[in-house]
């Protein structure tokens, strides 16, 4: 994140606590709402085509926390955060030099490069493992849903929905959930492979929370 924005103010514990209190009086629930809001903001910045959506989401949350510390009364934190996010995205686009360079760089690469192909092959290996871990009916559902040529795919999906007694919309959402799980599984698998290449095999301690071999 070398070309990321330079923060003028960093979230501190007091501001974090105050932000949590605005989100919910109950601490646990506030923590979850914080993460939900952050997720929505990350998606917002991603959909606007920014290069570092997570960083911009944190910057947005920092600004909201700072306003709260300064005494601003926020009635609807979701809408308020959207307003702040729009400002942040405008500023991000103003910092053009780097961003445009990045965008142009990527715009030139239409289709996978050699490096991409290596990554895709690794992802394929992981995907097979992840698919194997799915219950058979879910695995078959994913394969059936994504198989076939474009023309055949649409009609195939319709008949698949009929066979399962679902509407096309419900089938789409069911497959989306499976796909998101598979994406997460492949991501983790690739991370583990990367770690074993750089650090040697990892040995998780009891509970798997910490690894002392790094």
């Amino acid at each position: 994140m070398a070309n990321s924005l330079k923060r003028l103010w960093t979230l501190n514990q007091d501001a974090f606590e105050q932000l949590l209190r605005v989100l919910d009086v109950e601490r646990e629930s506030a923590g979850r709402k914080y993460e939900d809001l952050r997720h929505v903001l990350v998606r917002f910045f991603e959909c606007r085509g920014t290069a570092f959506p997570e960083e911009l989401a944190d910057e947005t949350l920092d600004r909201i926390a700072r306003k709260i510390v300064a005494g601003e009364q926020i009635r609807d934190v979701n809408h308020y955060s959207l307003g702040v996010a729009r400002l942040v995205v405008l500023e991000a686009f103003k910092r053009k030099e780097k961003a445009e360079r990045t965008i142009n760089e990527f715009s030139r690469t239409s289709g996978p490069t050699t490096e991409d192909i290596v990554e895709i092959e690794k992802a394929e290996g992981c995907l097979r493992r992840c698919l194997d871990r799915l219950p058979r009916e879910n695995r078959e559902l994913v394969m059936d849903y994504y198989q076939g040529s474009e023309g055949g795919k649409a009609s195939g999906r319709k008949s698949l929905a009929v066979r399962l007694g679902l509407t096309s919309g419900n089938l789409r959402m069911r497959v989306l959930r499976l796909r998101k799980n598979l994406e997460e599984c492949v991501k983790k698998c690739l991370e583990v492979r990367q770690k074993s290449v750089t650090n040697g095999p990892a040995t998780p301690l009891k509970g798997g929370v910490i690894d002392s071999t790094a």
Binding site: N12, R43, E46, R128, Y146, L176, P204, V209
Partner: protein
């Protein structure tokens, strides 16, 4: 004004940056409050990525897609996944098991009936054996977990259900609420910056955890009254990630400590140091650790 209809086509235009500004603003208002519309965006995003991967976009759409999607690392990961999925599903996956089953059946028909029975018995025995081993292991694992003695690591914790796990050396993962919906994970960090970078201990944040609580142990340090804690990237001179105001050490059966609590999302994979500073702003203790991907 009529509320915007979030159909697949509108979402697609939004994702490709084709909506007019007022339409986009209205769309985003919906997005921030309406969970269903987020699902629609997620689904349409995957469809769009698949269309890109299968080369089913027009030239204009493709250019827009690359401008909107390629800058983000997480979206590039989704594209890689889509390519892997396309390659995997294009193979004759359905035929492979059928072929294998057919070969196996053909082999069985060549075997005499008494042998078939014996074979079936062996398969059953193996299956029962494997099942027994799995159940036995699960049982002993449960026994082991429940026999771990609990320790009150976070006296000020609002979550009273805390299971503690002890391990040496630092940083020790202290606790995670046993409740599945709980979202705080605690780690005990022991002071020490003398380690070489290779020896820095790694912390893995369990999935679903929203808040990380570091207990910075003051054991072995001179008596400290008021301190401030800072979390920095890489080194004591690294960029500031999080800080506390002035805090007072707490005490537990394991000795004095201070608490540094922050949103887990602030901890991306990498090396960190937690610094404890006295009232004179001098560093009193350094706690080095690294965070691994979740």
């Amino acid at each position: 004004m009529n509320p915007m209809i979030l159909d697949e086509q509108t979402v697609r235009r939004y994702l490709l940056g084709q909506l007019a500004e007022h339409e986009r603003d209205e769309f985003e208002e919906r997005l921030i409050t309406d969970g269903d519309s987020r699902d629609e965006v997620e689904a349409t995003e995957r469809d769009l990525i698949d269309d890109y991967v299968h080369d089913n976009l027009t030239e204009d759409e493709r250019a827009r897609f690359e401008r909107m999607f390629l800058p983000s690392a997480s979206r590039r990961q989704k594209i890689t996944f889509a390519r892997a999925l396309a390659n995997t599903t294009s193979e004759h996956v359905a035929e492979v098991p059928t072929l294998r089953t057919a070969k196996f059946a053909a082999l069985l028909t060549r075997v005499r009936p008494p042998l078939r029975l014996a074979f079936a018995a062996v398969v059953l025995l193996v299956f029962a054996g494997v099942l027994w081993v799995i159940l036995d292991r699960r049982e002993s694992s449960v026994e082991h977990q429940t026999s771990t003695p609990p320790m009150n690591a976070t006296p000020q914790n609002t979550n009273s259900q805390v299971a503690v796990q002890q391990a040496e050396p630092s940083p020790t993962p202290v606790s995670r609420s046993q409740n599945d919906s709980a979202s705080i994970a605690s780690f005990l960090l022991l002071p020490g910056a003398e380690r070489s970078s290779d020896e820095v201990r790694a912390v893995t944040i369990p999935p679903g955890v929203t808040t990380i609580r570091f207990q910075l142990s003051l054991s072995g340090l001179p008596n400290l009254e008021d301190v401030r804690a800072e979390l920095r990237k890489e080194s004591p001179e690294g960029s500031l990630v999080f800080s506390t105001g002035t805090i007072r050490p707490r005490s537990s059966s394991q000795g004095p400590y201070v608490v540094l609590e922050l949103p887990s999302s602030r901890l991306s994979p990498g090396k960190y140091v937690a610094l404890l500073k006295g009232t004179d702003n001098e560093i009193e203790a350094i706690y080095a650790f690294s965070v691994r991907g979740r």
